[in-house]
């Protein structure tokens, strides 16, 4: 439209005048007279159901489970990333709109810019995970006598992770540091998001820190200063949401 000359635009608008009825058939929602409301309204979140991996293949899944379990390791008090469901969370996210960058501006040209200009990669998260996980295992097999990441002892896993995080490790065909940052973000999301998305099973993340979850009324608590909140966390799916079956 910005390329049209005034003459072209005026010529274009000197066109058919239409009645109001036609306007109503247009694909707009016309609101007039009352606020639109319907029973059963709203779009609640679709719960992630346990089941086969929807995005990761076998080795990828094993690798991811190993990765999240080092980023957030298990301890006697709280499960680690794997048992908290972080790998499942990431799997479902990559299979969905996050994985495909739906809604983002993905038009070319793709040019490298400054750090301040943000990611200019044409690769979606799904592509990046695919490439990076393969490159990671290739690196590990090369550096550790044929062992994949998941097969390494924990200390060596941590060494590899640190190497990606701080820079010395390069991954073939993938940005190691960038992948690490994305993986860490997604792992934290998986640990702390509502269990409906497949992670934070049994609200372990929330229980660990003392976050009461999807509660909505703290009027009785606003002036209870320096006092612990007594109620257990609640998820969008209820008090027992996310319990492994």
């Amino acid at each position: 439209m910005s390329g049209l000359s005034r003459r072209e635009l005026l010529a274009g608008t000197a066109s058919i005048a239409l009645g109001a009825a036609f306007a109503r058939s247009a694909a707009a929602r016309i609101v007039s007279g009352a606020s639109p409301w319907e029973p059963h309204a709203g779009v609640p979140p679709t719960p992630v159901m346990p089941g086969p991996w929807q995005f990761f293949n076998g080795e990828e899944a094993t690798t991811i489970e190993a990765l999240v379990d080092r980023l957030i390791p298990p301890d006697p008090k709280t499960p680690g990333g794997k048992d908290a469901g972080c790998a499942v969370y990431i799997d479902r996210q990559l299979a969905g709109s996050y994985g495909s960058s739906r809604g983002l501006y993905m038009r070319p040209p793709f040019m490298d810019g400054t750090p301040e200009q943000g990611s200019q990669s044409p690769l979606t998260p799904a592509m990046r995970y695919r490439r990076s996980l393969a490159a990671l295992n290739k690196y590990c097999r090369g550096a550790y006598a044929g062992k994949s990441f998941a097969e390494l002892p924990d200390e060596q896993k941590d060494k590899v992770l640190t190497g990606m995080e701080k820079g010395p490790i390069q991954l073939e065909g993938a940005n190691a540091k960038g992948f690490f940052e994305m993986l860490l973000s997604n792992t934290r999301e998986g640990f702390f998001a509502d269990p409906v998305y497949g992670g934070n099973r049994d609200m372990v993340g929330w229980k660990m820190i003392g976050f009461p979850g999807a509660r909505y009324d703290y009027r009785d608590w606003i002036e209870k200063h320096n006092q612990p909140y007594p109620l257990p966390p609640v998820a969008i799916g209820g008090r027992s949401a996310g319990k492994p079956s």
Binding site: A27, I30, Y216
Partner: protein, 588 residues
């Protein structure tokens, strides 16, 4: 080719805060008003119900209520030595989408600007001399005074039911309020919010240092309220899902909770959603808007003729549409001429993180605008002479949320992952705190908006290009404010504190605020402003423009209170002056 619809009297572009305010005022005149909104209709119990609004992943991280960059975005560069590149995913700011606009997911921090803010240039020059200002600073007086705006601030606050404590009523200082605020005619419509633990500690510490803390004025209400239009709001329940989220129980002021129920009942009002205005059309002279062209969800193109057009979209999109429509002279940073895109500004925020032992702040008991603040270092409330910068901001302990994905913090030096991280997150969640400064951002010759030469949106239109970086003045200011805040936080007795002053370069990747301002500013001189004092276009008298677009520079406060006041101000001018005598309201 577009299909022409029957003419209407008034077209309003964008049905957010200002669109709703203008529509409500203009439908009282009996004229027909059509509001065109790019996004969907949004309603509390349908779109952000208490049953699933509390979803940090969906709303804060996946931006479910916001515009999708795929539909519209901008390109960005810090300076002319760079090539601007698209903002492919939101970071620094989050443009709204849908009926209610930013009013749906704001924090509801509802401030007034200072009297001196409105005469910024003349005030600063008078006090410090012209040489004190950076040579490339392009701040301007607004062309109106605070006194003229006071009744309109009042009107917006009473529309919203804003909760607060007045600091100055009719010239008399009121204990417990902001001693620096401009005089107001009466107190806030509802009492201030009750405060959680950390803000009370902050206030005590601030008082010890001789400051005058006061409760932040809040559009999350302290009690049930019925506004002058007869619309009822409820009391905030401190759910901690405020900014980025819609409010599920009618306790955050928004177009939904204050205006739309009345507006939809007006027989001469019609809202058309999922309709994107692509152009404001002009007649052959270029001095008169004939209406707008818009595209519906199916891609059908329509022409809606109208006698009066009011441009009420979000700030960036207002400027974009003016440029695409060829209204007003585009700004050229080299010559300094032109007005559309000129004086783009933002907000300069910073924080102080504090870690405590043996304190439980219950950070999840939170509200968008709950907290205690001080204003000693805002605007020109203090002598800038010794400090070598101008501007300032409020600072305070504002407890907006304790959401776990993005709202946890660990002391500097803690690893970002692993057992040490896990332990530190758990230990510090309830007992750490982030206090903030919220500083002004003045205008500069090289901070502007224009059209990108390369990138386009799905409709084939050039994207808006943001040319912006922080200047030394703002970074000096931020360091100063952060130091002052740290002094107060130190008095609260933390185990450790960390200062995070705003440093350049400005990055598009980390969220700061959505307070983008300027680009089609109001003023007294058509050479340096796009709009006259009534927000009427100097070039096209039957076009008015609202929003933070009109700000010649941004002050040290959240902008919405001022945006709302100016919407009422413009509505008044249209109803009482323009409609009676259509034409320029100010000789140009």
């Amino acid at each position: 080719m577009s299909q022409k619809l029957p003419a209407t009297d008034i077209v309003i572009i964008g049905l957010g805060w200002t669109g709703s305010i203008l529509a409500e005022a203009l439908t009282r005149t009996g004229l027909n008003v059509v509001a065109l909104e790019r996004g969907p209709w949004r309603d509390t119990s349908t779109d952000f119900p208490t049953t699933y609004a509390q979803d940090e992943l969906r709303y804060h991280i996946r931006h479910d209520l916001f515009l999708r960059p795929a539909q519209e975005t901008m390109t960005f560069r810090n300076n002319a030595n760079q090539t601007a590149l698209p903002i492919r995913t939101w970071g620094s700011f989050m443009p709204p989408n849908g009926v209610g606009g930013g009013g749906v997911h704001w924090n509801a921090e509802t401030w007034r600007f200072l009297p001196s803010d409105f005469q910024l240039r003349s005030h600063l020059v008078q006090r410090y001399g012209e040489k004190f200002l950076p040579e490339d600073m392009t701040i301007q007086d607004w062309g109106v005074t605070y006194e003229e705006m006071e009744p309109y601030y009042d009107k917006f606050e009473y529309l919203c039911g804003t909760s607060g404590k007045a600091g100055n009523i009719g010239g008399k200082k009121q204990a417990g309020g902001n001693p620096f605020e401009g005089p107001r005619a009466r107190d806030y419509p509802t009492p201030p919010q009750r405060q959680p633990y950390a803000p009370t500690l902050f206030a005590a510490a601030a008082r010890e240092l001789g400051y005058s803390p006061f409760p932040q004025p809040s559009g999350n209400l302290s009690q049930a309220y019925t506004n002058p239009l007869g619309v009822a709001l409820g009391p905030c329940t401190y759910c901690g899902f405020c900014e980025w989220f819609g409010c599920g129980n009618y306790s955050k002021a928004s177009p939904q909770t204050t205006l739309l129920p009345v507006l939809v009942r007006r027989p001469d009002f019609e809202a058309r959603t999922l309709c994107e205005v692509t152009r404001i059309n002009l007649d052959g002279s270029g001095k008169r808007a004939t209406g707008v062209t818009y595209v519906d969800a199916q891609g059908n193109v329509w022409e809606q003729p109208a006698e009066l057009v009011v441009l009420c979209a979000f700030q960036l999109f207002n400027v974009h549409l003016l440029l695409l429509s060829g209204i007003g002279k585009p700004y050229d940073p080299h010559s300094g001429e032109g007005v559309i895109g000129r004086n783009y500004s933002y907000q300069v925020t910073s924080s102080v993180d504090a870690f405590f032992d043996n304190k439980n702040f219950n950070p999840f008991v939170a509200s968008g605008a709950i907290g205690m603040c001080i204003d000693e270092f805002n605007g020109d409330n203090f002598d800038h002479g010794p400090h070598g910068f101008v501007g300032g901001g409020y600072m305070g302990a504002v407890q907006t949320n304790g959401r776990p994905i993005l709202g946890t913090r660990v002391p500097k030096g803690t690893p970002d992952w692993g057992a040490a991280w896990k332990k530190a997150v758990a230990e510090n969640y309830l007992s750490s705190y982030e206090a903030a400064t919220h500083g002004s951002c003045y205008s500069y010759r090289d901070a502007y908006l224009d059209l990108d030469p390369t990138y386009t949106d799905p409709l084939g239109r050039k994207l808006l290009r943001i040319n912006f970086d922080f200047h030394q003045n703002e970074m000096k200011m931020s360091a100063f404010l952060t130091d002052r805040l740290a002094e107060i936080i130190q008095k609260m007795g933390p185990r450790s504190i960390e200062k995070n002053p705003r440093k350049g370069p400005y990055t598009i990747t980390k969220y700061q605020t959505t307070h983008t301002c300027g680009g089609a500013i109001m003023g007294a001189d058509p050479k340096t402003s796009a709009l006259n004092r009534y927000l009427q276009s100097w070039d096209v008298p039957n076009l008015f423009v609202t929003g933070a677009t009109i700000f010649p520079q941004n002050a040290g406060y959240n902008p919405t209170g001022t945006v709302g006041a100016f919407a009422y101000w413009a509505a008044d001018a249209i109803v009482n002056q323009y409609l009676k005598h259509p034409g320029p309201l100010v000789p140009s």
